[in-house]
Symmetry: C2
Subunit: 392 residues, 2 copies
Amino acid sequence: MPEVEVAGVGLHPFGRFPDASLKDLARVAVLRALADAGLGTKDVEAVYSANAMAGLLQGQEQIRGQSVLREVGIENAPVVNVENACASGSTALNQAVMAIRAGACETVLAVGFEKMFVADRDASLNALESAADLDVIAGLGLQFTAIYAMRLRRWLDAGLLEPHHLEDVSVKSHFNGSLNPYAQHQKVFTAAEIAASRPIAEPLTLLMCSSICDGAAAVVLRRGDGPARAAAVRPRVAVRGSVGASGHTPAADLPSTPTVCADRAYEEAGVGPADIDVVEVHDAMAPGEILYYEQLGFCAADEAGHLLDSGATSLRGRLPVNPSGGLSSRGHPIGATGLAQVAELTWQLRGEAGSRQVEEPRLALAQNSGGWLQGEPAACNVHILERIEPWS
Amino acid sequence: MPEVEVAGVGLHPFGRFPDASLKDLARVAVLRALADAGLGTKDVEAVYSANAMAGLLQGQEQIRGQSVLREVGIENAPVVNVENACASGSTALNQAVMAIRAGACETVLAVGFEKMFVADRDASLNALESAADLDVIAGLGLQFTAIYAMRLRRWLDAGLLEPHHLEDVSVKSHFNGSLNPYAQHQKVFTAAEIAASRPIAEPLTLLMCSSICDGAAAVVLRRGDGPARAAAVRPRVAVRGSVGASGHTPAADLPSTPTVCADRAYEEAGVGPADIDVVEVHDAMAPGEILYYEQLGFCAADEAGHLLDSGATSLRGRLPVNPSGGLSSRGHPIGATGLAQVAELTWQLRGEAGSRQVEEPRLALAQNSGGWLQGEPAACNVHILERIEPWS
């Protein structure tokens, strides 16, 4: 099976951009990713486009990717529009990996974009609800902040977490975000400020939660044994694992969907959790990060608080988690998030992450989840990346 | 690269089903396809779900497939939601083929579903417009009937077609549809009746056009060298070609997108147009079929009318086209259409097509197009299927 490499990555900054259309956001990310790869628009052989809400928010369904990419100058490449709620971006990447592994092409673009700031804020909040089965949600009145809150409440009640852990991990998220020029929120906060911010869904406060956001991210993949790049000046990054999963009805004897997905990705990459050097997880609410420590195999459930306390997951720790600031600080423009995680990890593996660079990582893991099906994510993707050349 | 076979196909009848939800439509198609394959819901390892308009018409974006499949009892299989306007169904199939070719799984379900009959008919017509770039369409006021009409008008003006050809091909479509128990329109019409029906966009009349429709279709694919099926009682059908393309800015010296796509599929299958025995094409308006004769390589442009006149493309001809009745008579529930074409061809190749069975076909071609980008389809997929066992 052909090897797959990350040839280039690019982001449009995350935040509020009232003068930028969906096309503007995506164009910037795509052209930056192509420039980063030393490639032109004519080199793209296939495109996977991720967007979650343009049907409801912009009225553009059906050919979201094509309408954006024609303006960029990418033609003739088959465009596939994928959608998987908050996991749309990583689903696009997973499909792009498959296209190369299937021998269909050698150079593939995955792009994700979302414009959530619209004139009617309620429209944006209502559109978010369609990430769950409306027939179920309409009866329950549940939404995602409440789902995270209930899961954290259970951990707190079971004594697995203390309230300060929720504040501490949010402090870490904001600190990392403050070092990321692409982040929506680039400001540091103290634990006291986070605890004192507006309550959203107990135990979550405003400064723990991701917010409405505009943005775009793009990743160019190439066959590892494909034609040599004109400008192979950067350390090469390989995709060692790329696995998707969808949720099941929860049961006490079944592992969580992210665990199932990560275990398959570890197997595909031939590595284990102890081998991973840097991680991006799907923390739509910053304290969600702590729950993933256990789900991804980095520690047992009763050690998650301790792992955070030890500083292991901070920028200078042995396993930095969410060096980008994560969803809660970098921002969470739905369709772009999964690809922004991979852009961050690519920069980290190359040594290009500036003031938030972690120490010489070799293996990186990205976990992106989306949607909700009666207790489990509707979609989850885990990618494992490896720096090919040793650090010199 | 692993061989891919069609293990099972299933349809929910196409038509108007006010009491059936999207989930009801999809469930019937999925369970029939699994039963046809001799498989159960637990055998499905991955799902590609196609829908074009549920965001705008039902408010359900983001996890359309998961919300449907959980009710069917399919869990744990990664679900990828794809969207490519009227080509959504064949895009799902193309991705399902890739998943097997990439070695990601051995049994994959592709399902397409659409519910276009909603309380507000204008909502349905407006949603159809999002199959083109709204920034372009909004300025032009173009929609799909007009696009087909302009192309046919040009052929008429160039002397390549006579008005009777438009009527004759519609007579053929309705005759084939009358033999198809799954078809939305199962009634025969004379050329005079078709010509006299309400004008839609000159030269198109009502009885030449596909209409708003509910329906669902599903196809189960398996690795050709995978585990033997419990009930391998049916003739086996292999996928020899599966190619996607997206449109480019038209130019006099460039072939059309369906031509590009078909040529690649012929190459992948190692066959040519002369080898094909039965065809399903994307005739959203019945006369569109004639234009595809040339685009798919079955004749030169100035021979298309003659090919129709000769009877070659009728059920008893040497190259039957749209034995199902095509989009205009079988019906065109957007997300389901591409998969319904493959279901029809599978039945034809197995010899299970009843009163519309064509004579012992070995090779079949399905062409499904979707969306519009300044003169070319935004997406196109061509699949070539082959009956493995000889006819006895």
